[in-house]
Point group: C3
Chain length 446, copies 3
């Protein structure tokens, strides 16, 4: 892979290549999953999230050698083993199920998953005896008899094998000229012993992807992204391609995901939403009938009927209540924005609790950082924050209070009062907005 990341931990649409294989095997009904892996892989933090047992392969001496590490486990289990290469992330659970089903009904010792469309030019080739049903060997690329013109059936890298004779057969895997042991040698050993080796052929060539380079990884991503997007298209979600929807995302029907949108992590989208184009949502939960244009939302939730964007950024820990309108160039961090509040333009609300029907003027900034700590700002229901107001936290602006354009508010503002200036001072008491106070400098850009 020419990469510092262990091959099987490279990410595809939100989970590692290894997780794709483990989840597929599990969904096909595996009772238990064992992973034989290098110490480097086993030491990775990410590995702990994978529901499987790990067996160390201390030296990388090939797939057959990996199998030998699990010899004890193999002996102690009586049934069928499904043995899969870890770098085949695109095999569907349904294909594993079909492989197992055929294996069980045919009574073969080994059933090899094969494909007639090679993903790479160097896949193992199936060799048969005189066109019969009997597989005699899997020829590795470079073997002397390797000849694609004779056989066009390729080894995908997944095998179902009966457990009874398996330990004995494993022990006979010969050492290769490069001092490795290949699992594919099991086939010729079985054939020599008179054991039946059969194949189960998958029809979708995309499933046969084996990842050996980042270029292969890129192709696997296209295949699996297409599979995820097709799933949502068939469940009532309209998608303008390309979109990047990770495996853990949920989208309700009647929503539209516009082009070049990324939905990542544990993101959930309600019904009737329009998301994108060019939006990125990470670990966020979006209510119904929301629009999020050209914006980034991270670790936050919105209720219903929320509009965001274009070009806004909702950061971690924010909760946007229903009917809120967030326009362009707004940044919201770790804040609650109350129902039907307007945050039209150019403002930074950090560590802030905004009440209902508050109007945040253009250029409003919550000055929440004093160089050492972050402080909270509270803006109560119906307050009208004039353009370019600076709110020096910790601070509270009372309900229906008004701040003048350009004011620097250093003290709490009482409910229903108006403050202007730098630092801001109370100029009168009002309980409702009127059109003439504008000349005091209290207007808000909208």
């Amino acid at each position: 892979m020419k990469s510092s990341v262990p091959k099987l931990l490279h990410k595809i649409c939100g989970k590692s290549m290894l997780s794709w294989v483990v989840d597929s095997v599990s969904n096909a009904g595996a009772e238990k999953v064992l992973i034989v892996a290098s110490p480097q892989l086993s030491a990775s933090d990410e590995i702990y999230q994978i529901p499987a047992s790990f067996i160390a392969q201390d030296v990388p001496l090939g797939t057959g050698h990996a199998l030998l590490q699990a010899r004890g486990e193999i002996e102690s289990f009586n049934g069928n083993w499904l043995i899969v290469n870890g770098d085949t992330p695109a095999i569907r659970p349904e294909s594993f199920s079909s492989l197992i089903q055929q294996h069980e009904s045919s009574g073969a010792f080994i059933t090899v998953m094969t494909s007639h469309d090679p993903f790479n030019g160097n896949m193992g080739l199936i060799s048969r005896k005189n066109d019969t049903h009997y597989i005699t060997a899997i020829l590795e690329y470079g073997d002397k008899d390797y000849d694609v013109d004779v056989s066009s059936e390729f080894n995908v890298g997944a095998y179902c094998i009966r457990s009874e004779l398996l330990p004995a057969v494993i022990d006979k895997i010969p050492e290769s000229s490069t001092n490795e042991f290949y699992i594919t040698r099991l086939v010729e050993i079985a054939y020599a012993e008179g054991l039946l080796v059969d194949s189960y052929t998958i029809e979708d060539p995309d499933e046969s992807i084996g990842v050996n380079t980042l270029h292969d990884l890129s192709r696997a991503r296209l295949v699996l992204q297409n599979r995820i997007n097709t799933y949502w298209l068939l469940h009532g979600v309209d998608i303008i391609e390309p979109c990047y929807i990770e495996i853990g995302v949920h989208i309700d029907k009647d929503s539209v995901i516009y082009q070049n949108t990324s939905l990542q992590g544990d993101t959930r989208i309600g019904t009737g939403c329009k998301i994108g184009p060019n939006s990125r949502l990470i670990d966020s939960s979006i209510g119904t009938d929301c629009n999020i244009f050209e914006s980034v939302v991270e670790g936050s939730t919105t209720e219903n009927g929320v509009n965001i964007g274009p070009f806004s950024h909702v950061r971690h820990g924010s909760h946007i209540e229903s009917g809120v309108k967030i326009g362009n160039f707004a940044e919201i961090k770790n804040s609650n924005i109350g129902k039907e509040a307007l945050v039209g333009h150019f403002s930074y609300l950090g560590d802030c609790f905004v009440g209902n029907k508050v109007n945040i003027g253009a250029g409003t900034i919550t000055c929440n950082f004093d160089g050492k700590e972050k402080h909270q700002t509270i803006i109560e229901d119906g307050a009208f924050i004039g353009s370019d107001t600076k709110l020096i936290a910790p601070i509270r602006v009372g309900s229906n209070a008004i701040t003048g354009a350009g004011s620097v508010v250093t003290k709490d503002v009482k409910a229903g009062t108006t403050v202007v200036g730098m630092p801001a001072r109370q100029i009168n008491k009002k309980t409702s907005l009127s059109s003439d106070y504008g000349k005091e400098g209290t207007d808000s850009g909208c």
Copy 2:
């Protein structure tokens, strides 16, 4: 479709699926277009924009039943009927014309549009008598004789039929086991009556798309978007794919549309422009030699030689005169920006009339909303608005006037004067800029 939107009203590249079919049929020369549709579809607002007559099909009893609803119209017209499924948006007008032309020259009773490349695995199959030219039936997926190995000619869902005998034949359509009536049964009825049924085969498999799921819709979008983009590429517009150009857009030659750009609605682009990447233009008209990078322009016009972006937002009702430069993080709404004005950064101009050669400093905000109404700002030719100026509308800044950085301007500013402070007060009179006034705080970020 698993969608609340009626199937035929789903949008593809700027118009509904139904409009694609109607426009294609009309462009092929149809004298009159009838649409047989469900009451749900007929009740839709969008339907009124489609140039066709509607006939209600109150219960969805199949395509043959739909035809029966139009029986009166069919009887009253003597000529050829072109009958098309509404979910086949990709058939070209040229293909309809060729179908009609062959139909007229062959003298067939029915000519069926067919394809040798199935879009879906469940398209109707053409059955012929002993390899002759005579079509005996269209087999539906699930019919007992349905066998793709025998016939690889598929029914696209468009038919040209002579009107004389049509009403009588329609009446003979049998009820299916699911109590529906299929138009495809016309073929076997015609065959039984000794009427010639011929086929016209289209070569481009993309035309045969029939949309039954949102996944099909997604594929149809790719096909039709590619067709639109190819049209512009062949008319001198360079496009870096992917771009999302709707059907109603016009682009002059020698412009370049960069990747991931959306041109929507009634948008027109002059010659010599560079649009994108990542721009979105909606119902906007762009002059010649304009650059619009990573920006959104809605319902606005620009004259020639205008630069916008990256990351700016021109909202509805704006008119940008020639030579204007709008930099990053600028929002302009319902405003006129005069020739060669500079709006470099971070500013909100709403309900504003800006004269020629005005300089708008970074952070300028037109405070146009007093909580009840929006007011206008006028900035006359050659004015220099210092950084972070708040203009409390309604207000007028005279020609060549200057506002200091951070000023809150609450009263009109006379031509040629300078104001600073909060609220802003006149400090001297100047008729031209000089380098020393900077210390008064009048500079503008640029």
Copy 3:
């Protein structure tokens, strides 16, 4: 092409179509490159960057006529001439090398590069004598014998020819009915004279692209972009497609380029970076372990561990030192940002020298333009610039100095002091930040 740009100067992934061909020929080992070109092409500025000699073809009378313009050069060189159409940008150097190698070993007079997969429907066809190895003619589309059913071998537009007899053969090229001279006629002339004409067939159909329309250009871009991206994927760079990486870019291994990112010009990316999605980097150099989300960086450099974005814009001449964090909606132009400085949000830093560990509050603006000239701002190590501070340049803020929120700073600020207000005045002396000064209005949004 229906374009004002000369065909061969259209850009593909960062260099002109002509440069693609010249570079490919040069990399195949050409001793000298001659370009026969129209005066319009020769007059272009861009042409001077191409390492080749130019010969004018004053009137466009076809490829054979172009060859005639180089007759003198051809006579004076004894060896093999590789003659290539300028509109075939996708032929690999390796293919040219193989063509030359086969030509030299076969002893043919002409070796024609051919393909079995036509890119266009109108490519020249190879005609052979009774299925022998001898090529008798290249049939142009429209010639009476042109028949794709008989021959499916197409002329790519590249020829290797022995120099000895070439001048004499060129002179015999007949005038076509359109008064042009075609290089392809050389083949039938050679055949008539008993000279061997052989072919070298390329296997990758993408290499045979000949560009005659902007639609062809679009296809060539896809092919060459895919080739560039595959190169980086195979060199340890992970790419989420689509990405737009120009030919002159360098990326170190273990970096990830996310979807819809453009890397243009002379851009270099260090190891361990995450770039994109939706970023655009032009002529910029990025250190190791940097993250650049949804941002534009032009003509600038960053050191290691720098974070930028989303939605920020680093303009020409900026240098960002290690560990700097630039958040959203920041614009930086022609500035140095010192180590570990924070530029969290909404700020414009132009012509600015920022020291180490400086905190730039939200809404900070360097007012660097007085209407006539740009001036410099210096902010020394450890300074804390409060939110919405306007710095009227030229100006210097001393180390560890503090400016209050909303202040307009018109005079230099001494090290360790605090200034507030408009214009800003010193309020006390401090050498370190404390939590209580916040009430003076000195907080910064973060």
